[in-house]
Symmetry: C2
Subunit: 172 residues, 2 copies
């Protein structure tokens, strides 16, 4: 069984909706996603330091469309690990654990990895929206569409736009 | 630079002292470590389910002797990751993060990995007290002495009794 590593923020959890929500609460203005294409999250949300450590920022993130149904199927065919950058934000650790238990009850604690850098985590396939995680990975790499990676060269990664496309690629 | 994976409970944190403390608070009797040789933690501490989920069980664990000084040196010579089984106990996630920051301030959030199974974490050397973590590891494996592994066959792992012995083996 191949080992499939799946990112949380920007792949399972719609963290851009949280950024837009929290940023607009401070500025009174809500950006359009299209205007954020190619900008890093830090560039797109200049006030992020004021809220990314807040309770609920990660814990109340909405789901990315189709993620639950897709993961339920992939979990039957792959050795799945959810690998999330979390140790930079200590309050996110408990929130992310609870979020996974709530939305993905078929994913056990044995399949969760909360880390800082993903360089020490190995597998056959990685799904992630960030180049910094995919670039060093030795297996097959799927770049999940998020505003920050739109328009940038995909390098040696396969671009995927949504979970239905991932299922087409990865289901037998 | 070689990647060195270091376990927390039973290697950096003296979790047996916590087991003895919490168990004796319930039973009124404190076991001798020698009487626990070769027994699994579950066998040695039959009431563990009543307290391992308690606040402070992980967060207030004392240090293993010599761990801080040794890690400070090893951190200069290796790409160090602290890899801890933590997702089984959600409340331990924040506690372990804070414990590391307090006792090992030279270890950054980038070097922390909190997981359930360690099978997806790869490196060159692993220090751990549990066979279940060492047995599947592809690199060099150091079995740190704890009561539960005393008297059992070391298999293909190198036994180490304390941190000074580890420094003798791993420092250039």
């Amino acid at each position: 069984m191949q080992r499939l590593l799946v990112d949380m923020d920007g792949v399972l959890a719609d963290i851009y909706q949280q950024f837009l929500e929290f940023e607009s609460a401070l500025t009174g203005q809500r950006a359009n996603l299209e205007d954020l294409y190619g900008k890093s999250e830090r560039e797109a949300f200049p006030l992020h330091e004021q809220y990314v450590h807040s309770a609920g920022f990660f814990g109340n993130a909405p789901l990315i469309k189709g993620a639950v149904e897709a993961m339920e199927q992939l979990n039957q065919h792959y050795e799945v690990f959810i690998v999330s950058s979390a140790t930079e934000f200590p309050q996110s650790l408990g929130e992310k654990h609870a979020w996974l238990q709530k939305h993905f009850p078929f994913i056990s604690w044995r399949q969760m990895v909360f880390c800082g850098s993903k360089t020490a985590v190995s597998g056959d396939i990685m799904i992630d929206d960030h180049f910094k995680n995919l670039d060093h990975f030795k297996g097959r790499t799927l770049l999940f569409k998020q505003p920050h990676n739109v328009g940038l060269p995909a390098k040696n990664h396969e671009r995927v736009h949504d979970w239905s496309q991932i299922l087409q690629l990865l289901l037998p």
